[in-house]
Symmetry: C2
Subunit: 380 residues, 2 copies
Amino acid sequence: MNPAEEDIAHATDGEIGLVSPQDFRFPNPFEFESGQSIPEFTLRYESYGRLNAARDNVVLVAHALTGDHHCAGVHSLHDRKPGWWNSLIGPGKPIDTNRFFVLCANCIGGCQGSTGPKSINPATGQPYNLSFPFVTIRDMVRTQKILLDSLEISSLYAVIGGSMGGMQVLQWAIEYPEFVRRIIPMATTWRQNAMAIAFDEVGRQAIMQDPEWDQGNYEEDQGPNVGLAIARMMAHITYLSDQSMDRKFGRKRPEGKGKRYSFDIEFEVESYLRYQAQSFINRFDANTYLYFTRALGYFDLAAAYGSLDEAFKSIQCKALSIGFTSDWLFPPEQNREIVLAMLRQGVEASYTELGLDLGHDSFLIDSEELFSLVRNFLDN
Amino acid sequence: MNPAEEDIAHATDGEIGLVSPQDFRFPNPFEFESGQSIPEFTLRYESYGRLNAARDNVVLVAHALTGDHHCAGVHSLHDRKPGWWNSLIGPGKPIDTNRFFVLCANCIGGCQGSTGPKSINPATGQPYNLSFPFVTIRDMVRTQKILLDSLEISSLYAVIGGSMGGMQVLQWAIEYPEFVRRIIPMATTWRQNAMAIAFDEVGRQAIMQDPEWDQGNYEEDQGPNVGLAIARMMAHITYLSDQSMDRKFGRKRPEGKGKRYSFDIEFEVESYLRYQAQSFINRFDANTYLYFTRALGYFDLAAAYGSLDEAFKSIQCKALSIGFTSDWLFPPEQNREIVLAMLRQGVEASYTELGLDLGHDSFLIDSEELFSLVRNFLDN
């Protein structure tokens, strides 16, 4: 077997296997949309598959609020879970790593290796904390472009992402029209409505009112864990749907723990939320949560460009927008509106709505329907 | 003008005017559904209109989670707001106090005058706090029955209420079938689903994780204000709809305060939530919030009686169930299911769904459509 055959043999097993994140360091100042600057930044990213000679077979994946660059493969053979979009990305999978060079970077302002509020400010030797610049979706995209430029990538075959990732996808198409050939924004919106802004505000208040937050100056291994847990529990409910929660938990009591008349856990869904919160505070930084939810709230393509039609005027790529019937955080009509405005601007865009009942998080689940949509749009 | 004429003259102006709450003290032990007891209790209530000679023209109003007995009229001529259902109750209004004797009591476990966690336990001279018995919807109804018995009321012309009030309405019809002639449950459910349980759990965690909660032993003028505010802000969103929030707030910035790039108030909806939270912590007790949300979670007519059909088997009254299209906390189908099960049991029941877009709180708004439904059902 020659090396090429070996590759194919490995590829057909359908899994990416072991991956290692890379750090890209940009040694120059970067000015954020707010006008604030930092003297340098790092983006941590992962890539799967191989860059072709033309350096144009790149699929960029944009992560959501609490996601990160680790979207496929495993970091160690002991990992219990692969990256968050592992079902979608891999050899022979809808985003086929036999064909595409897939890249995903932790967003600027993040807490998984990219420069963010807990990073050391070289000017002071101290963490930025709240002196970190406010981050916008456009800042996320512009820093990713700097990373792609450093890799001498000539164009993006596609950009794909859900929720906050979907916002980045839209921003990519607007900001770099000649660089992007296809976009797949999912479960997203062109501007957060009042309800989404409100939920994010409650989460931020839970964090900022926690005495351990200390104006953002907590030590890295400490912090407003209570507030962050409350924020996560609440937000997690908004990512689901009542149907899926009823199917999964209903009114079930934890086995052997069904003691009634207490303020301890009485229902399985309560236990699930606490577990989710605990695992979240172990992996996520509270200040990043503040910055990223603000980025979500600031995102408003109509306000930024005069109107949604104006925003999409320059777009040259093809677009497939996917909404989910049960998503009540960024409901289907907000995804549909994106495509309607694109069509008015002559963009080759289509809208699909999937009846998956998992709510906003539907874009993250294993669905053959979703997989074939992505596969066909990329094949086309 | 004789006194009767004077009454009528006053009545036709359509407003109840000044009212004073009454305290009913039950001097004997009361055993809760949990098996726990208290040696005596007080219910604070208000009444409007006059009890007829047969003592059977009574409309009982049941309040929701954060409501109370003050549902109509004003306590002082300086009051800026009348009781919470003042538009519905009064002379010539849908619940016509020229005809009905309308009564509403603060629920047992409450914090507006009825015995609850912050009341003094006569056995210890100290507040009950968490030694207060767990409260169920059935306990609320049974204590209200004791109050009505003390007033020698012979039957209820109708029981009406929304949300937690609607649960009490259903429980009344089941528990005292020969006593109740008409019920109007609105925006309610026969059992909370997993999502509603989950939101309540986040609210309780926000309160109980606040160090000021101190296992419920805070002083009356102190307490877990931060946690209670977070719980309220979150819950308040669940009482609205995205359409109504978009119409009222959208992405508006507070006038003259539109500073961008901060974690202070940036959007009007954020300011609104903080205002709501502040006014809530000024009037509501955190322990009562814990007890009442548990009462909501425990409510499950199917589990309590074997099935929903079994629960409704004994009902003798007429029922009008009202759901609201935009209510996603206790959505229309949960209200429809109530009527379907009643119809299967031969109950004279009908279901109406109103297209008001204010979400769960639609039952509290001024709507001629809602008013005429209530008026006609009571006239019938």
